[in-house]
Amino acid sequence: MYWTGLSPDEAREALVNKDKSMKDKRMTLKEAVSQFIKDGDNVGVGGFVNIRQPIAITHEMVRHGFKDLTLSWQSAGMAPDYLAGAMMLNPDHFSIKRIELAYWAHEAFGLSPMFRFLAERGMLEIEDWSNYNMSARFKAGSMGLPFIPTRGPLGGDIPSSCRTKIIDCPFTGRPIALLPASNPDVAIIHVQVADQYGNCIIRGTDATCAEIAMASAHTIVTCEQLVSHELITQTPKDVGIPFVAVDAVVEVPFGAYPGACRRHYYFNGDHISAFHAGATEMCKGGAPDTLKTYYDEYIYNTKTFEDFIAKFPVKKLIADQKAESFNCERLA
């Protein structure tokens, strides 16, 4: 057995001597990414498919460049797409060694050509789990446990392609799966609201963000809206991730765009397709030119995520905000 992030005992040790005080954790995205992510890390990715994915963080990771990352998530779309596209263009600058996942695609927006490209060429190690499996693995990590039991992977081929151990339950005698905890080195998470200490409010699905943050040795949080500690503690039960689990807080409006973020913006499907176009060409054996043009324009030639967002027509951004405000109508 090997642990792809921290072992349970290492994960514990990582917290013991850490400064867990309530201190100002605001910094730039560049500072956060260079301070808390390093080559070879296991990176836990927040959000769910294209909902509240940490897109701004992945852009900064691409600009920075990393080697041999392991990426862990349940269901993801654009966040790993951005990282994988960078690897397709230049694996010396950015490389993913391994993924631990349940799903990598886009539901209504189709498959991920990046995943197909890398997987079908054997360019990364894959470990398949289910959504509940990955969620429960992060949960075990967040609970300080080495494993957690689930029924999820029983009966099919998933146990043959991952590190699950199936035992006979010592109480009932029936088979039950034990899933090894996932304790990533670093969690990357986007939320709607945070205070400077890292207390986070999540709207809509919590996904598995709290579990990933609590399981990881370090957590980078971007938020749509930075608010005062006084405001956030007026409704402490709204806090989904407590400050103790957070190391960096960066206010990044549209930080999950072109994916969706409840209360802020709905999907920009056009842009998802435009981004996929170049990777689809490469998947079919074509040249990297279209994909390279995309990365140059949208990522490498922008210094910050604000510059990326500024490339969208104002009317489109407002339309995507209005679409979301229809989804959850409320007074401003």
């Binding site: 769910f48 909902i51 349940a102 079908e120 029924r151 029983l154 009966g155 998933i158 959850c328």
Partner: protein, 279 residues
């Protein structure tokens, strides 16, 4: 209740799927056509249907339109409970989901599904011929919902004797008690809806059995498009075509942008249709 003359294969699947769902039951809804079918059921014979989505929404009225993701903002508005993935799956593992409604790329005669890879498993696992998205929550729904409803496009290669990878367990090898002995919960596949008909799983053998063929199909045409021997129910009959009203509801009320139900006649760019401006 005039029968529609121009319904598509996806539309009859949606209508058939909706009809399988019972009022006042809890259905754990997977992404894609199951979402459209659940919404149609809720707007017709099953207003008390309680949808659950794996990203954490329990019981939303879905009155702000069709979600295009199971984590979509539209699933949360007006819901009775909103958590994350662990909460939704724990609730399901506990036994609260009467139905799980999932789709897959490949199926065998026992209702086992593949949505992981086309290729040689385990030898070629790290270099699949076609890499599919992976389980998502499908294998969890298959393991823990009380009964599952499957949607698989009908194709001889996709209705196959032996799956290349079993993502979501159905009746396993069909032997008595196979699911219980494997540690699984629930009764397993209940109905399968394809582009050609509706199937159940025969009580004793757990084998896929044709109960309704869609208009234009026959028992023989369905068998001819299936890569294993089908059982046929003694009273197998033609399924009534969707009504004009059902088709109108799907096209105008439920999925006006063709997020999951593609338009038959005019070619539509799905991605443009999915953008925010049209919502």
């Amino acid at each position: 209740m005039t029968a529609s003359k121009d319904y598509t294969a996806q539309e009859i699947i949606v209508v058939a799927g909706a009809k399988v769902l019972e009022d006042n039951k809890i259905v754990f809804v997977g992404t894609g056509l199951p979402m459209v079918a659940s919404l149609l059921a809720k707007q017709t014979h099953a207003p008390g249907l309680i949808p659950v989505f794996e990203a954490g929404a329990v019981g939303p009225p879905l009155n702000v339109g069709l979600p295009i993701s199971v984590g979509d903002s539209k699933t949360f508005t007006g819901a009775s409970f909103v958590g994350g993935l662990n909460a939704a799956f724990e609730l399901t593992q506990r036994g609260f989901a009467d139905f799980g409604f999932i789709s897959g790329a490949e199926v065998d005669k026992y209702g086992n599904l593949n949505s992981t890879m086309i290729g040689d498993f385990p030898a070629g696992y790290q270099t699949p011929k076609v890499r599919l998205p992976g389980s998502g929550g499908a294998s969890d729904m298959a393991a823990s919902c009380e009964r599952t409803i499957l949607i698989v496009p009908h194709d001889k290669r996709k209705f196959t004797e032996k799956l290349q990878y079993v993502t979501s367990p159905g009746h396993l090898d069909g032997s008595p008690g196979a699911r219980f002995d494997a540690g699984l919960q629930g009764k397993g596949p209940y109905r399968l809806i394809s582009t050609k008909g509706i199937f159940d799983f025969e009580e004793e053998s757990k084998r896929m059995r044709l109960i309704h063929y869609f208009p234009g199909e026959t028992i023989e045409s369905v068998q001819a498009a299936t890569g294993f021997e089908l059982l046929v129910a003694p009273d197998a009959s033609e399924f009534a075509p969707p009504t004009e009203e059902e088709v109108r509801m799907i096209r105008e009320d439920i999925d006006p942008n063709g997020a999951f139900v593609k338009r038959a006649k005019k070619k539509v760019n799905k991605n443009i249709n999915l953008t925010a401006q049209q919502m």
